[in-house]
Symmetry: D2
Subunit: 311 residues, 4 copies
Amino acid sequence: MSVDPGDIVEVSTEDCFGGMVKTSRDLPSETVAFDRLNPVSGPIEIRGAEPGDLLAVHFASIVPARDYAISATFPHFGALTGSHETVTLQPPLDERVWIYDIDVDAWTATFSATRSDHRLVMPLDPMHGTVGVAPASDEVRLVVTPSTYGGNMDTPELRAGVTLYLPVNVPGAMLSLGDGHARQGEGELCGTGLECAMNSVIAVDVVKGAAPAWPRLQNDEYLMSTGSMRPLEDAFRISQRDLVNWTAELTGMDTLDAYQLVSQTVRTPAANVCDPNFTMMAKLPTWALHDASVYGGMHQHLKAVSAKYRN
Amino acid sequence: MSVDPGDIVEVSTEDCFGGMVKTSRDLPSETVAFDRLNPVSGPIEIRGAEPGDLLAVHFASIVPARDYAISATFPHFGALTGSHETVTLQPPLDERVWIYDIDVDAWTATFSATRSDHRLVMPLDPMHGTVGVAPASDEVRLVVTPSTYGGNMDTPELRAGVTLYLPVNVPGAMLSLGDGHARQGEGELCGTGLECAMNSVIAVDVVKGAAPAWPRLQNDEYLMSTGSMRPLEDAFRISQRDLVNWTAELTGMDTLDAYQLVSQTVRTPAANVCDPNFTMMAKLPTWALHDASVYGGMHQHLKAVSAKYRN
Amino acid sequence: MSVDPGDIVEVSTEDCFGGMVKTSRDLPSETVAFDRLNPVSGPIEIRGAEPGDLLAVHFASIVPARDYAISATFPHFGALTGSHETVTLQPPLDERVWIYDIDVDAWTATFSATRSDHRLVMPLDPMHGTVGVAPASDEVRLVVTPSTYGGNMDTPELRAGVTLYLPVNVPGAMLSLGDGHARQGEGELCGTGLECAMNSVIAVDVVKGAAPAWPRLQNDEYLMSTGSMRPLEDAFRISQRDLVNWTAELTGMDTLDAYQLVSQTVRTPAANVCDPNFTMMAKLPTWALHDASVYGGMHQHLKAVSAKYRN
Amino acid sequence: MSVDPGDIVEVSTEDCFGGMVKTSRDLPSETVAFDRLNPVSGPIEIRGAEPGDLLAVHFASIVPARDYAISATFPHFGALTGSHETVTLQPPLDERVWIYDIDVDAWTATFSATRSDHRLVMPLDPMHGTVGVAPASDEVRLVVTPSTYGGNMDTPELRAGVTLYLPVNVPGAMLSLGDGHARQGEGELCGTGLECAMNSVIAVDVVKGAAPAWPRLQNDEYLMSTGSMRPLEDAFRISQRDLVNWTAELTGMDTLDAYQLVSQTVRTPAANVCDPNFTMMAKLPTWALHDASVYGGMHQHLKAVSAKYRN
């Protein structure tokens, strides 16, 4: 698929299990090979995008495509278990599947406990866990590992209304996306959100020569830098340094003054603490920048042109 | 000082520099010895508190006591520099002091850049960086290291309106507090907030035999668990496991069901990523617990009895 | 290049700078692009090797090909500086180049300080920093990142006389090697060893269906497991768990008994603490296994058939 | 107990379980409270030692005092299990006790597997896991946490023939020691060595004004720096930076030249990867320093005066 900068694209994505987990008896570890998890839609070629450019992807709409979503504990995956990276000799936690009822009209997901009758109705907050471009240096990577090219960052900030900025590493950028979650807590504690197929609408554009070192996000209230690394403090440091540098650039302040300003105003939710790289967010309220113009008002522009697709 | 459970106490605290940094020429590293940073007010003995009890400390009011606050880069301290723990051969960042104007009537702090004329008026959001009790096992610790006994957790969540729950380790609990910040970003990036002397009002109470393993907080919207450890993912894990266990206890669900529920609803701001232990917060919205009663409604009780002191 | 199991192969490798740093004025950061560092010789196809097999590579001889070797501090690379992963706001350490005189006849390298007249003659201890096979799951990776497929592990244990065991992920295994060091301390502290082109002789063979999860090594005195991960304790844990499992398998003991035996006899040098993944070694003396037979005596066999090439 | 610099002292120490674990049915977690583990002998006051001085402790002899030693898995303690710091939701590994037969005449320890008839005779290599002085800044710490004052570093390098250098923080230094191991692998993988009561002979002396920042060791072949911190790379960095600075001081080279020299010659065994702080060793062969004199030949002096006590 090939599109032009400025185009609006409707994308359907499968859930992270490729749609193969449908009941609480379909254990993911028996149903899907680990390196086949997280199938993505794409790649989408953005014509004219060249290495060194910035790719802007605005999410106008993300809507669950099914009336259920799946969450699960996957053996040796998640923040509160030994993992493939933090290995121990202990057996894995039990593998268990939770089925959530999704009601798009009511905009709710319903949790049902598996070992008691506890139920909870939660608001939907749909997002894409995985959005990325082709890596630099001719590398080919499993999307499960988030890095400078985006990938499986698994942040709930990637909801409708946000614009994602990615570096272009290869001609055409080669955008792909997937791993929709009907909602997810910060940190993706158990390793999965409310995994769900999605129907999404995105608007894409290009800023020549403006590639960021790491993925950035913007919504109406915040500028956000990301860092994806292990250990978690290195992900934190990467996201914060990028935000400090971005602030210095937008305000004309020197680095230490920007460091000071960010220190007193930043918000720092985790994105994921379960993937092969952990992802941290650094969020600066736009009021702290006197509402400075960012990438020539790209976020506002893409929001406006895709307004009629907003869900 | 000795008080009874149920008492309301007015406490004045010095800033983290003992009040000795007053101008941008007073470099903290030359003005205060490292192990004399963070003086605290106390200890306050709570009569009848015994090891194994829970000490509840409700913050009714925290108000800056001066018309200025200080922030600074301190050599080899902070999240974006090599430190005493993460040592490198590089020279430290420049030591620099920022003076903020505090206007309690307008409820604002004004940032002024040191190398340009950039200024920003920010809302006040006063908090205590350091609140703790005497450690267990006859240890004596510098308060700069946060741990199970509380201490220098440096979370902006410790603002007026919150109730802090601490384990009692010694008879009388021996509560101390200090390190007021007129505001602070999450993570305390540069190592300091808007350091300021404070006038605070707290209400204290005791729940027999209910000592939590790690400090917990509660406000009208969230239950919060904390973890203070290095590396950052271990602080994250501690806070999240405590929240999972707390959720299981309050809902009667089994551990994996609670793990699932927390995974989809939790918020995870950093408290500090600069102290000898890093601190992470795990925040669960009370709606996710059907507004379950916590410690017999202690938070609501202390909020009510101290209502007239609210600022 | 295509060889058969049992073949002996002579390989010439360039140094990690592609031979382009020749004097102390050739700063690596100006001479070589980061993603062109560490060129490797290969890939060598081993006919008949299939996914799931074990590839054994015995190093009969590794001899410096030049009369000098290069070491350098590279900006933001090395264990005692902020890096591309552990980012700070501090400027990098000075970039500096050291030229060592290599005397193959005397089997020495001579260090000369750059800012004083301190000199030291050291014994040569040649090794390959980078030896690996094609990754699994169709990934393509820069060799600078060590992982399950081998790659830039940078361990001084990879000297002549050792047999390296690698998992085969693709038909033919596709072996490549390079990054010779005339010697290197454990941990590769400053980010480089005595970087040198090498003439090496290897003997390769295949054990059907015996792919290890992580690279393993064997010499006459030790069995060695490796782990490449961040943070360093995770690299440690991976290497130790592999050694525990290997010990259990070779002795018939249960896992906890093997854990106990390894705990009291293992040696644990770092390989590198500077690359995008850190590498730790877990070394078990063969006497602790009553000299159990490993992979059918593969190490002894390859050592014998290549004996005449030993340097 | 109070001694003079230059004195030789005979010390008996209990094992880390206070002698209360005697059979494989005495589970440590049921027999000893966690904060009563690791009892130490002392404190020994060294008359005339003042803050800022260096305390030298030469170990002339360390001999097992019993004909058995104990090792065990302790719940949530050890490198290959979730722990009190790296928490997970998984149940602990089985708690199991191993009894080793100690034969001082043959200088052997005999391992017997608990679930098979595998046996292994190992050479003794007695060491003290815990040697430390009173902390600075009026802190009081459980000895189980190693830090700048020494404490529970758990390195097999602390065997007879080594001299340990510690900073003096309080008048008299207040030396204590214990936690003898009849032998231990590097890293103390399962959390315990061959725990054994010991009869030891030490020689103590003081160098005025020469306090090192972190504990250092010296034997006939190596100078050693230590670092105790989490995560493991920070322990590594601390030990390496101290060794670089020490090398610069002893050779007169600048820091980067010393960094280079250490990089190519250092050895880096883990001490422990299980305690509340992890400990790494940085070992420089004395030949790399042209056998420079260290602390006025203190190691050679103490070795000579205590020669008749050598075991």
